[in-house]
Symmetry: C2
Subunit: 198 residues, 2 copies
DNA sequence: CTAAATTAGTTAACTTAATTAACTAAATCT
DNA sequence: AGATTTAGTTAATTAAGTTAACTAATTTAG
């Protein structure tokens, strides 16, 4: 039985969307050519007409999620102007994204970036660039700005990773701990600014 | 071809050690029953006499790595007494462990802890308990102590995760950024201590 | 000291996933 | 209308995980 009409035929975007649907419903192990083909009602080899195998599928999904995350943050940061507020809103936006779509967050974070990667590198750099703009208002030297970016990024994503791994079992609200951390990070940034360069 | 003498027969520990050897040499994808059986010179089904399949193997490996990490940190912290130094030494020890054995670090961190887990939970809790002892000398209330633990843990492990994902590509020494972060965290802890409880 | 019971391994067979190759027929282009 | 493209197909290969049935060396009990 041949192929359906062209209008009904799939695009790489359709495949990626189906993969993300599987991912959301069944977790990372569902992110495979066979599972996604079943989701789309086609046979596994047909996937190869749109994306070159499992690795390419994973990569395309990760890039798509990075874009979703960028849009998610952009929307929430719209209209926020004070650097301190931007940092907090950005932190909450990231955590909210991770809590809304845990498997997407995991795939996004596990994505291995190779510096030669001419598609992924600019996308991810751009996504993180808003943080640079936020921190720029703290009037830091270039090296200190990078240090601050790395710290904030590490703390926020590290918190979320630990939280999602189920390692925050102590008797204390994780929401409150996160809020306290964001405040403490702002103080830490100021410390980096004021520290003498050794 | 029956079985070898009992003295030559394998133990679960042997299987775990072989699995970690595969992991170190070939990365996470080598962490499977078949690959490990080949490493040991036996057939895949024989693994099941020692560990109940792939999931159990992964779990046992993760727990073993947690223990190695605990020993690694204990050794480096031996003799260090000032809380500030302990925090820094602990941070460096963790990063050094991750850089020495990247796949082990990844497996350890990806290990999903379920609170019902009566074997893993105490082990991991105990491993992180030294941090509690360090922070206790900062004289924090219980809630603040938990907040500080979560922040320090998040920042250190987040930094390492981002570093290992290859996302630290900017023109700035990652060693220096890490050092700056540890100093800033100490200030952040003091801020948590001094902050009024809202 | 022999006979029974254990048990660490085996082989054989099944399932599922990824992948490649060869094929088919609908849609498009001249 | 006929040639070409191409989105799908089926068939076959490889590899991993798993289960079941078997085997023979070791241990243990009588």
């Amino acid at each position: 039985m041949g192929r359906p009409t062209k209008e009904n035929s799939l695009t790489p975007q359709d495949v990626i969307a189906a993969a993300i649907a599987c991912l959301d419903r069944e977790g990372e192990s569902a992110l495979g050519v066979n599972r996604v083909a079943r989701e789309l009602g086609i046979k596994p080899p047909a996937i190869y007409k749109h994306l070159d195998g499992n690795a390419a599928l994973r990569r395309a999904v990760a890039l798509s999620i990075w874009q979703q995350y960028a849009a998610w943050c952009r929307q929430r940061l719209n209209g926020v102007n004070s650097p301190c507020e931007m940092l907090k809103v950005g932190g909450h936006a990231t955590r909210e994204f991770a809590r809304s779509y845990p498997p997407r967050y995991r795939v996004m974070m596990q994505f291995q970036l190779y510096s030669e990667d001419t598609v992924a590198a600019p996308l991810i750099r751009e996504t993180l660039d808003f943080m640079r703009r936020v921190l720029q208002s703290y009037d830091l030297s270039e090296a200190k700005l990078i240090d601050a970016m790395r710290m904030v990024n590490a703390a926020i994503n590290g918190f979320i990773a630990v939280e999602q791994a189920g390692l925050l079992t102590l008797e204390r609200s994780t929401d409150a701990s996160f809020e306290v951390m964001l405040d403490a990070l702002i103080v830490a940034i100021q410390h980096i600014r004021d520290a003498s360069v050794e």
